[in-house]
Subunit: 256 residues, 2 copies
């Protein structure tokens, strides 16, 4: 049964999409059959692999009342072992469509049951909010990975995130575990980054991933070439950090 | 009558809060009576001036059914001419509270009528989404300022933003104008930033602000000291860029 990792943090621009893409690519590179699911209406994961014009059906059609099966959507990417379930902007309407539906939080979990046995890992990228889309990811997931930028605003939002984690754990998904907190865009040369890093470590302790992702132009450029960092710049520090992250994720998942 | 500028972009982490704080501070520095309104539940603007524990009432109480008058909330900051209307996480609940209320998009606009004559400028920071909170800012505002980071994902979301602008202009707020698009965290040394800048310029033309805000550690550090860049590092390039931005904003507002 696949390990399902939701990558989430309602703070914007902390590297959720960058982490989801490159962790999925690193796991696929280690011969793990990996599915990347984009449930952010901004579809940043999707446009890092495909041209928006090429997408007809999206995760919206799976989660809304059109009830298209997820396997109809899953498509291979140029990277071996890596498949993608794309998003489109229409997903932003889902919140209105699902209001009042008692099964609203379970739509993604239910749709995964038909594909889960085909993959070793499923990685879910989420929007910068704690609305119905992110809740769907929390309910469907076995683990939660929280990218966090070492900056002043970093710790402010984590209380709400952990509160949402506890709420989901108490009823719809008791098995959901916090896999860890990942420092992204790290530049150890600045005081603000070092101070913030120490604060994050004090709050999260062992849950802070040993791997950090440094700020790097190669990582920022790679989606423009429709590639992950693994193939765009395989020898770069960014590629090595994501390979290290994938090994740490495997260790933590097996240890639980 | 105050000029009301909504600072918005549903892409996360592009510098909305940083722009709202430092533009408001630069306008106040130029002797304009300025009010900064935080309608992001993450309250990043608010924690850049106040300690969260000091806040009892927030913009939530104004926009929800408690109908507290906005002037009961407005408080001075350490900077002369600059006042703040704080936010709290409870604001995240507003979306559910306002579902189905036909006056939902007008709550902020209605609450501003009693304070508008006390200020020359009102700056509104918004969350990374196009939901009811951001729509409230669009309906209340006279102008929209869109911070944009020169990176691959930058242009993807702008179609939806402009579509939302047109929808708000066609009915609830015909006077809303796009003040401009502002490049933030700009590092001209990288290809991705220069390429992206050229794409943004090609799309927005004259609506691209002549001022750019460079990436700078001083700007990133300043909220940790509860100061704007204007007082934290008055001689820094960041402070000068925001002063230049405030002058350009004044020119564009007067020209319209
Ligand atoms: N390690 C890194 N080095 C340099 N740039 C990075 C790095 N990680 C992410 N970025 C850049 O920072 C910006 C924000 O990253 P990203 O879009 O992945 O964040 P996000 O959390 O998914 O944002 P959103 O909240 O909008 O979904 C992007 O322009 C991305 O290219
Ligand atoms: N010019 C700059 N130079 C360096 N860092 C910056 C600059 N502008 C913003 N930042 C940093 O980038 C991060 C994102 O900025 P900010 O929080 O203002 O964006 P935002 O659009 O308000 O995010 P959100 O979508 O979560 O509301 C913050 O850590 C901030 O300190
Ligand atoms: Mg993203
Ligand atoms: Mg913000």
């Amino acid at each position: 049964m696949a390990t399902i990792i939701a990558v989430a943090n309602q703070k914007g621009g902390v590297g959720k999409t960058t982490t989801a893409i490159n962790l999925a690519a690193a796991l696929a590179h280690s011969k793990k059959r990996t599915l990347l699911i984009d449930i952010d209406p901004q579809a940043n994961c999707t446009i890092s692999f495909l041209n928006p014009a090429d997408i007809t059906e999206s995760i919206y059609d799976v989660l809304s009342d059109h009830r298209v099966p997820l396997e109809a959507l899953v498509r291979p990417t140029s990277a071996p072992n890596l498949s993608l379930a794309p998003s489109r902007i229409s997903l932003a309407k889902l919140e209105q469509v699902l209001v009042g539906q008692f099964d609203a939080p379970f739509r993604l979990k239910d749709s995964l049951s038909s594909v889960r046995s085909n993959f070793d890992f499923i990685i879910i990228d989420t929007p910068p909010a704690l609305g119905i889309l992110t809740v769907n990811a929390f309910v469907a997931a076995t683990h939660l990975l929280v990218p966090i930028q070492a900056s002043y605003f970093a710790l402010e939002g984590t209380d709400d995130l952990l509160e949402t984690l506890e709420r989901v754990r108490s009823r719809p998904n008791p098995d959901l575990q916090l896999l860890g907190v990942l420092i992204t865009m790290y530049d150890p040369r600045t005081n603000i980054a070092r101070d913030s890093y120490n604060q994050i470590k004090a709050v999260f302790g062992k849950k802070l991933m040993r791997t950090q992702i440094s700020r790097s132009v190669r990582i920022e450029e790679s989606p423009a070439y429709k590639e992950s960092i693994l193939t765009f710049a395989p020898k770069s520090p960014g590629a090595q950090e994501f390979m290290k992250l994938s090994r740490e994720v495997l260790d933590r998942v097996e240890a639980n």
